[in-house]
């Protein structure tokens, strides 16, 4: 589903390498957790995958489509939610969802069903007609998630999706992620919460100073030592 080849991105005229020659493949039906300390390059990588940032080098293929060559087609296949969604404050939640459904060309019957389903699930039915300006951080996160999932994308890209969500919503989202992947789709998400990664992910990748320093299933990372927690593995790898 995702093929990343030799991806690099630097800031400040090449002085700071945010992502350094990253190679990564994520298959269909997989939940992939992208871990790393603050400033490791997680968000930069995600932003390049969804087309918000342009790589200095390398390529990103989404379900066979090169994002640099056919960005529109690649974007249709994804649903993305940033870590801190800045939405249109002066639209109501419903207007935002209708807008997203329009730009992703979601047919009326499908959008009705999806909007109702997600608003119910995220407990947003009462707030759908209020301006987004009046929403809490978590509500914004939930409306952004709903907007990103209306067109039923094959690939979900979520940057720190659990931050700001209450325990119930976080639980529901995790279930959704699992269900989505069980249908053969893919979820790629970054997180700081190692427990979530440990429980949810089929595979994880750990990025540190722009480089992928470990990748595999949790068991593979433990290297057979069942007692070792992901936290210990993470600390060991990133404190080198």
């Amino acid at each position: 589903m995702i093929e990343i080849r030799n991806l690099s991105k630097s800031y400040s005229k090449g002085k700071v390498k945010a992502v350094d020659n990253l190679n990564l493949e994520v298959s269909n039906g997989e939940i992939f957790g992208f871990l790393g300390p603050n400033g490791a390059g997680k968000t930069t990588t995600i932003k390049m995958i969804v087309g918000l940032l342009n790589p200095d080098e390398g390529s990103i293929i989404i379900d066979g489509t090169d994002i640099a060559k056919d960005p529109i087609e690649a974007k249709r296949k994804m649903g993305y939610v940033p870590d801190d969604p800045n939405l249109y404050d002066r639209l109501t939640g419903m207007e935002y969802l209708n807008f997203m459904a329009d730009v992703y060309q979601v047919p009326l019957s499908v959008r009705k069903e999806k909007i109702e389903y997600y608003l119910e699930m995220f407990d947003l039915k009462d707030a759908a007609f209020d301006l987004i300006k009046s929403y809490s951080h978590g509500m914004k996160q939930k409306i952004a998630l709903t907007g990103a999932l209306l067109h039923d994308p094959k690939l979900w890209i979520l940057d720190e999706p659990m931050v700001g969500l209450d325990p119930k919503s976080a639980h529901l989202l995790k279930n959704q992620m699992r269900e989505h992947c069980d249908k053969g789709n893919t979820v790629f998400f970054s997180t700081h919460v190692l427990e979530v990664a440990e429980k949810l992910c089929d595979r994880v990748g750990i990025i540190h100073r722009g480089r992928l320093i470990a990748i595999g299933t949790i068991d593979e990372l433990r290297k057979g030592d069942n007692k070792d927690s992901l936290e210990n593995i993470f600390l060991e790898l990133t404190e080198k």
């Binding site: 400040s12 529109i72 800045n86 939405l87 249109y88 207007e95 997203m100 992703y104 209020d130």
Partner: protein, 558 residues
């Protein structure tokens, strides 16, 4: 004192992007050509306008000298500059004081309300120098050199130029602070703020026109020309402080110094009064303004059916979003829509005020005469073009996306389609400007209906390149980092640049059209040529716009 000073420093830094600029010049040298190109663009468009203004002021000075009143040039420019600052200051102050995003961060700081206001006031002041300096500097230099003034004159003018925005801005702030205390209640506060702002502008326009009207009594006119009662006194009798600055500059000896000090003292007093009042009422209005109403309506099945809209294409969806965001943001309505639509309406007020003057009335009646009609038609088209030129909605369309630009980058909609939606939104504003102008020239100027329709058609065609060019500027270099909506629209160089660029095109077309008319080419021919030029320019600028948007939307990073 120290925290206050550092707050002002921070406000100026944030508002004028000083750190961001430093970064630009020291770190991103590859992209240096962009600000340089913009600087050159400003220079190219400002210099001719400034030269025209200086020429006009030279004529005023020469005329004034002939009747023994060379100081007329100072009086006119000072009063004009203060009026402009007052009228435009009202919306500007409203935006900066009450609709800034950074207020949420400022309120919890251990600063007194008047300190916050003073910091915001300083930002507006500095911005107003961009308006006042080009208006004041030429006449000050003309008068200074023309009457061989000494060091004291130059010293005083330096200080006055620094002080001039204080009085009109303090008055505008007082108006706004009182208005916001009154309207910031209940559900419709955004709407009331817009209406109140418009009313304030109308009132100040009326008052200022009343002040500026020439004496109607023939005896007064005679006295005026005989130099017994100068123009300065004439204006001064209605609004004395406005003229103290001028007298402080030109009057000799102690009297001059007295007026100079008086002006500065009154400015300071007004500023103090404004700060004192703001200290008492600012936060009350501000905090109630921050509250957002929630309907908390539960979504039932049938209601849900109605609210989920039928699917439309992406361009239409973007167009609708664009309009909703503009109409729901008081600052965009005030600065964007009102700016381009109220232009023609101000024209009516001017006519109504001046209409009582028999000479002006006679002039208007001449507009319907056959030999004048062609020029009246061209002038009407000129005004229509100008309403399109001043369309800030289109020239800040990309910048306004600000932090939500990630959505534009994420959605599967091409740059061309996104630009098309923004163009259409801006063009509808221009259409409105053209229609309002048509109605005014038909009703008030009594332009024949057929010619009015012809003018409107040419106006609509001309609005295409004007709108596309303004948008082109913003697509090329959008200002996406801003803290309040005011910065996105009013403190955005793109709005100014787009306006200058399209005014330049308007002036070129206008000069060519008038020259053709004067050389005996009949009006239908001239109109056909202007129409054809507009269509060709429109097609070319749209083509350029779409090509640029396609590239820029890919390059832009969020």
């Amino acid at each position: 004192m120290k925290p206050f000073l550092s707050f002002i420093k921070m406000q100026l830094n944030v508002n004028y992007g000083i750190s961001a600029l430093k970064y630009r010049f020291t770190r991103e040298k590859k992209k240096l050509w962009e600000p340089i190109l913009i600087g050159a663009g400003i220079l190219v468009s400002v210099v001719p306008l400034l030269a025209m203004y200086t020429g006009l002021m030279l004529m005023v000075f020469a005329g004034g000298s002939m009747i023994g009143q060379p100081e007329m040039v100072l009086a006119i420019s000072f009063v004009f500059a203060q009026l402009i600052i007052l009228i435009f200051g009202i919306f500007y102050i409203m935006g900066t004081f009450y609709f800034s995003k950074d207020l949420e961060m400022l309120v919890p700081l251990p600063l007194r309300p008047y300190e916050v206001i003073a910091g915001k006031f300083a930002v507006v002041m500095v911005n107003e120098y961009l308006t006042s300096l080009p208006l004041l500097l030429p006449p000050i230099i003309i008068y200074g050199i023309g009457t061989s003034q000494g060091v004291l004159y130059w010293l005083k003018s330096l200080i006055l130029m620094a002080v001039v925005p204080v009085m009109p801005l303090a008055i505008a702030s007082l108006f706004v602070i009182v208005l916001m205390r009154i309207v910031n209640i209940g559900r419709y506060k955004d709407f009331l703020a817009i209406v109140g702002g418009i009313v304030l502008v109308f009132v100040s326009m009326f008052v200022s026109m009343f002040m500026q009207r020439m004496p109607e009594n023939p005896d007064d006119i005679q006295k005026y020309f005989a130099g017994q009662a100068g123009l300065t006194d004439m204006i001064g009798s209605r609004f004395p402080p406005g003229i103290w600055a001028v007298k402080g500059l030109y009057a000799a000896g102690l009297a001059g110094f007295g007026y100079f000090l008086l002006y500065i003292a009154v400015s300071a007093a007004l500023l103090m009064l404004m700060l004192w009042i703001s200290n008492h009422v600012f936060y009350k209005a501000l905090l109630s303004g921050q509250e957002v109403r929630r309907k908390r309506k539960t979504l039932t099945g049938s209601h849900m059916e109605k609210q989920v809209s039928k699917s439309t294409g992406p361009v239409l969806a973007l167009f609708k979003r664009e309009w909703k965001l503009v109409l729901r943001t008081p600052l965009y309505v005030l600065n964007g829509l009102v700016g381009s639509i109220m232009g023609p309406i101000f024209l009516i007020i001017m006519i109504m005020v001046q209409d009582q003057d028999p000479e002006v009335a006679e002039l208007f009646s001449k507009l319907a005469e056959p030999e004048i009609i062609p020029y009246a038609v061209l002038a009407s088209i000129g005004i229509m073009f100008l309403t399109a030129d001043m369309n800030l909605i289109v020239s800040t369309a990309v910048s306004r996306e600000g932090r939500t630009i990630w959505i534009a980058k994420m959605i599967p909609v091409s740059g061309k389609q996104q630009a098309a939606a923004k163009f259409l939104c801006g063009y509808t504003v221009s259409i409105f400007g053209v229609l309002v102008t048509s109605v005014i020239v038909y009703i008030f100027f009594k332009l024949p209906l057929l010619w009015t329709i012809a003018a409107a058609i040419v106006g609509l065609a001309g609005a295409v390149p004007m709108t596309a060019l303004s948008l082109l500027v913003d697509v090329f270099h959008p200002k996406l980092v801003w803290n309040n909506e005011q910065e996105a629209m009013k403190q955005n160089m793109n709005g100014f640049l787009g306006m200058l660029l399209s005014i330049l095109v308007t002036v070129i077309i206008g000069v060519l059209a008038v020259t053709a008319l004067m050389n005996g080419i009949p009006l239908p021919g001239v109109l056909a040529a202007v129409f054809a030029a507009s269509v060709i320019l429109g097609a070319a600028s749209l083509f350029a716009l779409f090509a640029l948007a396609e590239r820029k939307y890919r390059e832009m990073e969020a």
